[in-house]
Symmetry: C2
Subunit: 267 residues, 2 copies
Amino acid sequence: MVSFTCERSEDGVAERLFDLTVDGERVPAVIWSPEGAKGSRPLVLMGHGGSQHKKIGTLAARARQYAQRLGYATLAIDAPGHGDRISREQAEALSREVGARVRGEAGSNPTFTAEMLKAMAERTRRAVPEWKAALDAVQALDFVGSGGPVGYWGVSMGTAIGVPFVASEPRIKCAVFGLAGLRTGQTAFEEAAKAISIPLEYVFQWEDAVAPRESGIALFNMFASKEKTMHINPGAHVEIPNFEGASWERFFVRHLGLASDKARMAA
Amino acid sequence: MVSFTCERSEDGVAERLFDLTVDGERVPAVIWSPEGAKGSRPLVLMGHGGSQHKKIGTLAARARQYAQRLGYATLAIDAPGHGDRISREQAEALSREVGARVRGEAGSNPTFTAEMLKAMAERTRRAVPEWKAALDAVQALDFVGSGGPVGYWGVSMGTAIGVPFVASEPRIKCAVFGLAGLRTGQTAFEEAAKAISIPLEYVFQWEDAVAPRESGIALFNMFASKEKTMHINPGAHVEIPNFEGASWERFFVRHLGLASDKARMAA
């Protein structure tokens, strides 16, 4: 049973923090929902990017908009080694390191070494059961429930973790991935991608310093989904155009519908 | 001065046919607009595909929806050697030939021969001044005017003709292209693509029998536009998912806005 460590409401949106314990480790989580929500509703799980955390600006802003406009609940958790699971100093060092890499700065390492791939695989191995535990926990809440459809959103590290998670989680009905690629030797990641057949929207930046074009197309090609759309835009890793955010929202509405209270209001 | 050969209204949308004479040849045209429309409004030019005609089902359906929902005017013309510019027997033979090619049937020619590329270039050479004349003509109409922004939509042959047209027409503010590629030796087409810098949405089918993946990406790469998005979906030439049609509408609304009468109603 979840007990909230912090609850607040603003502009009609309730934000509740809680902690899970998975494999002996604390996993901080947040759930957004319409203020006063009752009953099952569509749920979106949002996986943040490398060096970010569960309440990063753009992610939290979309969660609030989904609550306001669609009546959705949105769940986010801190990935292993991120957010409230590390100290402020560690977070700042991580942010500098990842920032240099996505900007393709001299001295940063644009290609993933075997060591980095191993660390990513280890992080994913821990993150997948954490996501499942978090999904179990919020589906037991009366204002989320288990009766509504569930979608996943996560780009960059949110895709690195999200692909194996979604592949192993039948409750997820559609997903937005992106800013990631498939590299030689990522056998488990490739197998996970091949096991995914739900509708996908896959956003990609054409001048991404950390995900070369060929790797991005290779990952897109692996998904077994009949409905999958790759959106390619010019620019760097962190330069996804704003209109893609609007496209994600429409993708979720297309596949998850509106919360029944919102649907009644719109009718 | 345009004189209409046929006018009818249905479900709040007026459809008017007229003929232009360009370089001694008759060019049949159609303009859709909201019934009773007055004054300048956004205008979309729609270029049909190979073997099709100016009033092909999906094109006409979108034109009507744009009039109803957005207050737009939409113009379409028969391309050289298409629609009412050829006999019914010629149209049927053309439809069989193009149909076999886009379905990748045995015996059809999936690659473009030098002769076919030459015929396409000749068709485009004639089509560009026809589009300009048609745009001149409808901007002189009181219910279209020259005060509203202009967009272009055309995939497949609509892109083959549209790229050189849009490159040479400063009145076009944004365009949807797709189902086309850049092939070795298409120097003039490549130069036209390089001269385009307006916002673009570019739709592509990943198993297109007539536009291989590499050629599609090569064309996307040539556009000088800062805002350009390539949407890749699985399937054949004629299998663009319906949700891309919804995406085109939002693209036009983003760049052309709504007609002022529609904007007043929405406010």
